[in-house]
């Protein structure tokens, strides 16, 4: 059984009245939701809030889910929309948490100077370019899926990726050559 088939089974069970099926969906996708939220919003607490908002919306929408796309794509679309709304409410791009160890439940990570610059540059990209870059490069979605998630076209997704790469090269300039000889 593939992951998507498993999701569909769980969705059908939930639609038939089995509330625990939704718990299984949460358990299956919460790590992904947190990770993508973290990448899109750059902050542990906001990422948790956003991922939970997405699950709440999914819970509300699941009775009307028509299996026109895989659950994961549908859920990603919701999550991305939640993250977009949250970003809009921020006055400026979020600061990257260099040391999220303030929360004992999250293992700390260490970033090189170049990684900090790269992360900050990604966060400063225009919204569509940033979303496309993250979905394509970090989440490995193909262009048609990205178009589906972002409500755009394959060509627009390609263009946004091209613009994002160009912007990163321009912003990082010499650091890029130094860090990636």
């Amino acid at each position: 059984m593939t992951l998507e088939q498993g999701d569909e089974d769980l969705v059908r069970q939930y639609q038939s009245g089995n509330a625990r099926a939704f718990d299984a969906l949460v358990e299956r996708h919460r790590a992904f939701a947190y990770r993508l939220g973290r990448r899109l919003l750059g902050n542990h607490h906001t990422a948790e809030d956003a991922s939970q908002d997405a699950f709440l919306r999914a819970c509300t929408g699941l009775p009307n889910f028509r299996f026109e796309c895989p659950f994961r794509v549908w859920f990603t679309r919701i999550l991305v929309n939640v993250c977009r709304s949250r970003r809009r409410s921020m006055r400026r791009p979020p600061e990257i948490e260099a040391e999220p160890a303030a929360d004992p439940e999250v293992a700390p990570v260490e970033m090189t100077e170049f990684q900090k610059r790269l992360d900050a540059a990604i966060q400063r990209l225009p919204e569509k370019q940033r979303l496309t870059l993250i979905l394509r490069v970090q989440e490995n979605h193909d262009f048609s899926r990205i178009a589906e998630i972002l409500g755009t076209t394959d060509d627009a997704a390609r263009m946004n990726l091209s613009l994002a790469r160009k912007a990163l090269r321009e912003t990082l300039g010499p650091f890029l050559a130094e860090a990636m000889p």
Binding site: R30, R86, K128
Partner: protein, 515 residues
């Protein structure tokens, strides 16, 4: 496959064998691919903090609590929040920063809030909520009022709060009021995020004024990237003419992104480009030339050929013509200017070189001569094969001798020696053989230099390239032959600058003294 075609695969999963082959041959493309791969690898390697296992138990509990709270209070908080806002008199704070006078608002006879107050309060709720069902309910309340009160949303688009601005744009897109497009244009400013959101909304509206607004944004250096991104939301038949019309003014990085889009919409782009080029001045035409070439817009060729005559824009015109990948264009270019034709062949590559060799044997002597002259820039066995044939033709005999003399190597020299006996241009042939720089030809050059049909100047020139230790003894020996004495004497005097008599003994004494 050319570089342009190959690089379109940079963003794709896996590449066909022909792209891999091109990459192996083209260092520039290989570098572009590697740069993208390295950047992607760096992005993928960015660490994301992973919550510890214990975190998920708490996560599930918090999510469960939120679900229960929501199930218990659904629908009540919206009304409560609105009531609190009204009670606190915050309606005035929620009034928009207006960019133009809004339409008059009809006051209701009842003592309750005015339609504008109701509208703005409802909008405030709308902007705050993420819940899809709640938003849908609020939209149903906002829609009827919005038909009249939409100008007040323009002020919200200018809000510093991105969430408010985004919600106002979402609502304006939903309302689809034609006049809103022009008003949205006035919201464009310095902030990239707002410009992106506004232009995206203009494109989503897709109303008659939308292409005009996007076209003007494309001409603004600071808004090109956002405008291009927004254009891709429009239907291609509406977006392509806008991008093509602004193409000449795009910055290089925006032009690359526009190229990617226009190539994906090639049939529409060709049509729009043909119309644009019909009305373009020379500077615009020059900017559009590479795009016309890449899109294989063959009907652009006559205009580009005319443009190639202009000194200022000839390079762009030739670039565009070469990208059309039509070797038959070489003939009119040869007719026009050898330097333009040469640039064309250098850019267009192998097919153009093949055509050049064909034209070297053309029936038109002017074309054939010009083509032969250019062959000197492309030496090789195929060129020598053509020159062997062209040197035998009266129309291209002289120019072929000259070109053969400019090609280093024994084969060119052998071709020249082969035609020497039958040719009347012996001086030119001797000079050309000398220029071939083949040491083994020295004895032949010594013999030929002493023949009376070869001019003294030509003989002196070629003999000056042969070492004196070989030339002088041969010329002194020539002094002893009756038929060559005067020629040998004259050349000896000019080469050595010695004024000795035509006596072999006198010259031998002098030569021995030189050691």
């Amino acid at each position: 496959m050319n570089c342009e075609d190959a690089r379109r695969w940079i963003d794709e999963d896996g590449v066909p064998a022909e792209v891999a082959a091109h990459r192996a041959e083209c260092p520039e493309c290989d570098r572009a691919f590697r740069e993208a791969e390295r950047l992607d690898a760096a992005i993928r390697s960015l660490p994301v903090p992973e919550p510890r296992a214990a975190y998920w138990a708490g996560y599930d509990l918090r999510l469960r609590a939120r679900m229960e709270r929501r199930a218990g209070s659904s629908g009540r908080w919206i009304a409560a929040a609105a009531a609190i806002l009204i009670a606190a008199g915050l309606a005035a704070v929620l009034m928009p920063r207006e960019t133009a006078p809004p339409p008059p608002v009809r006051e209701t006879a009842a003592a309750g809030p005015t339609p504008l107050t109701r509208f703005m309060l409802t909008f405030a709720e709308y902007a705050r909520t993420d819940d899809a069902q709640a938003r849908a309910a609020l939209e149903a309340r906002l829609d009827p009022l919005g038909r009249e009160l939409w100008p007040h949303l323009i002020g919200k688009v200018n809000s510093a709060d991105r969430r408010v601005a985004g919600s106002a744009l979402d609502l304006l897109v939903r309302l689809r009021v034609r006049e809103s497009v022009a008003r949205l244009e006035s919201c464009l400013g310095e902030e990239a995020w707002r410009n992106e959101a506004v232009l995206s909304a203009v494109a989503r509206l897709d109303l008659p004024d939308s292409p005009g607004v996007l076209g003007r944004a494309l001409r603004h250096p600071e808004r090109q990237a956002q405008a291009l991104s927004a254009c891709s939301i429009l239907p291609p038949r509406r977006a392509v003419p806008v991008i093509v019309a602004a193409y000449a003014g795009l910055a290089p990085e925006s032009r690359a992104a526009a190229d990617a889009y226009l190539h994906a919409q090639a049939p529409l782009a060709r049509r729009a480009l043909a119309q644009q080029m019909d009305a373009a001045d020379n500077a615009t035409l020059a900017a559009l030339a590479p795009l016309a070439g890449d899109l294989r817009l063959r009907e652009a060729a006559p205009r580009l050929l005319r443009l190639a005559r202009s000194e200022e824009h000839s390079a762009a015109a030739i670039d565009g013509l070469a990208r059309l990948k039509d070797p038959l264009l070489l003939r009119p270019l040869l007719d026009q200017s050898t330097s333009n034709a040469l640039a064309f062949v250098q850019i267009a590559g192998q097919p153009a070189r093949l055509q050049l060799r064909r034209l070297a044997l053309d029936a038109d002597p002017r074309i054939a001569s010009a083509a032969v002259l250019m062959l000197a820039e492309f030496p090789g066995s195929e060129t020598l094969r053509v020159l062997r044939a062209s040197v035998a033709r009266p129309a291209t005999h002289a120019v072929s001798i000259d070109v053969l003399g400019r090609i280093d190597g024994a084969e060119a020299a052998r071709i020249l020696v082969g035609i020497y006996a039958a040719s009347t241009r012996k001086s030119e042939i001797v000079t050309a053989v000398g220029r071939c720089g083949v040491p083994e030809m020295a004895p032949w050059l010594l013999r030929a230099a002493l023949e009376p049909q070869v001019s003294v100047d030509a003989a002196r020139e070629v003999l000056s390239s042969v070492p004196q230790r070989e030339v002088v003894p041969a010329l002194i020996a020539g002094l002893e032959r009756y038929d060559r004495r005067s020629r040998a004497h004259e050349i000896l005097r000019r080469l050595t600058e010695q004024n000795l008599p035509a006596s072999a003994a006198a010259w031998e004494r002098w030569w021995k003294k030189q050691g």
